[in-house]
Symmetry: C2
Subunit: 290 residues, 2 copies
């Protein structure tokens, strides 16, 4: 029997409804939620992501203020601009679109963001909270949190479940491992140095692929009835020269054995913007404003 | 065949020799390594740990300055004292002995320590670095780092090894998971909600017990030839009324099947003070002083 496909958008819509209601309550108290998005250089994908945040923000009551800085912006000037946003009390969340131009040290820029406004959880402080299982204090990074929301809002109980997490990157794999452990899953983290990944995935009740490697999870690695969450994003060029994205999972074949499976695009990635917006509202609470 | 017992002290001695040599080089440059230890209230175990740091420091060239504050010290006064140490350029490392009296919020006090002087890796910033696999920037917490040193200095290559880590606490289990993943092990984190811990431990090449539960790892959970590292510390009262500590592993029985095993006491715990001292020297480097 083919797997049930978990689409991201209906779940994102539910999250957006919750945000809209919360944003209205804040506005009634005189607080207008506002996210500052900073874009350095004109990377087309980053521009697209930034603009989509503006659109979503308009629908749900969060002002998204986009600042486009030239590609040759100096690191010190970018950090000074972030510090201005840190001090601006009308700004509740700050997000710097990645990738940054090569002459700018990503780590330095990320840690310049005030942790209480760090709505994509990129600062060491927020990572520390996620790591320590202190989710109540943390602004959790969007992609790993999207995986959690997809699983939980699909009615899957993580408690005691055997999860095989393929990928150990600092953007998705590592924080997701921590979020899963906090939610009482038994997590095995696999990666390029793991000697026998199929033996781990075959023994899992839930597989999360977050390695950024097309075709990594194949049908023979998945036991019947497994839940398969695909957090991979790989850009490929089609025969007609246009580009598209695919995940880490061989979707067409794996769906023949999985019980539930997320598509790419249209799965995990459909939630990230909503999670960022939810983090803006959480940031307002953590800042003691609501 | 009985397991080979990995004793902590000979490994600690090697680490201390390295520190002594490094401390001498620093002194030749005019830098006297100094650790400030803060003790609030007279918990006998904490007093003992603090005094043992002074003794070790004397042997290896690190000045350990102990400040004993009364049990009724206010949280704000303790934080003010830490801030004074943060600003004192002669102090390179700060350690606040735990547990703190109940009226003091541990999390707040820990995060008052300047991350660059946080030699037991208790601040969110250092946790974030460990979590992100950025070990070069991190001051890594002592107990998980002791487990790593015990394994690596016993000649065991972690790359690709299947590690069952039992325990997910924020002091040992969680940071250790991250350190193991960074060192290319395939790590499964088990805990109280794991439905079948023996199936995980039996499949492991290395078991690390860090749950703080006496008798947790029994012989039937360990496959022949497994390396068993015991990071558990459980205080028990003997028949004669005196207290002693035991680990999480049923040592007498498990050593019959393991290939290598660490005792408690005399294993992981024998390294922690030396790791703290090594962190004081690392802190000096991270502070840009050497």
């Amino acid at each position: 029997m083919a797997a049930q496909i978990i689409k991201g958008m209906p779940i994102a819509e539910n999250i957006r409804k919750e945000i809209t209601a919360d944003a209205e309550k804040l506005k009634a108290k005189g607080i207008q939620p506002k996210l500052a998005v900073v874009l350095v250089g004109g990377n087309p994908a980053s521009v697209w992501y930034a603009k989509s945040k503006i659109k979503v923000g308009e629908k749900i009551g969060v002002i998204v203020e986009l600042t486009e800085l030239p590609a040759d912006t100096k690191e010190t000037d970018l950090i000074a601009f972030i510090q201005k946003l840190n001090q601006d009390s009308s700004v509740h969340g700050i997000l710097v679109e990645l990738p940054l131009p090569k002459h700018i040290a990503k780590e330095k820029v990320m840690n310049a963001i005030l942790p209480l406004k760090d709505v994509d959880g990129v600062t060491a402080v927020n990572r520390g909270y996620v790591f320590g299982g202190q989710d109540d204090l943390a602004l959790v990074p969007a992609t790993p949190m999207s995986c959690i929301e997809l699983i939980v809002r699909s009615g899957i109980d993580l408690k005691g479940k055997r999860v095989a997490l393929v990928g150990r990157g600092d953007t998705v794999g590592r924080p997701l491992a921590s979020l899963l452990i906090t939610r009482h899953a038994t997590v095995t983290v696999c990666h390029t140095r793991t000697t026998d990944i199929p033996s781990v995935t075959k023994n899992a009740e839930i597989i999360v692929a977050a390695a950024g490697k097309r075709g990594l999870v194949t049908k023979d690695m998945v036991s019947p009835g497994t839940v398969v969450i695909d957090a991979g994003i790989n850009e490929i060029t089609k025969e007609d020269g246009t580009t598209t994205i695919v995940g880490d999972v061989d979707f067409d074949k794996v769906q023949e054995v999985a019980s539930l499976i997320t598509p790419v695009p249209g799965g995990v990635g459909s939630l990230t913007t909503s999670i960022i917006m939810a983090n803006v509202l959480k940031a307002i609470k953590l800042q003691g404003l609501a």
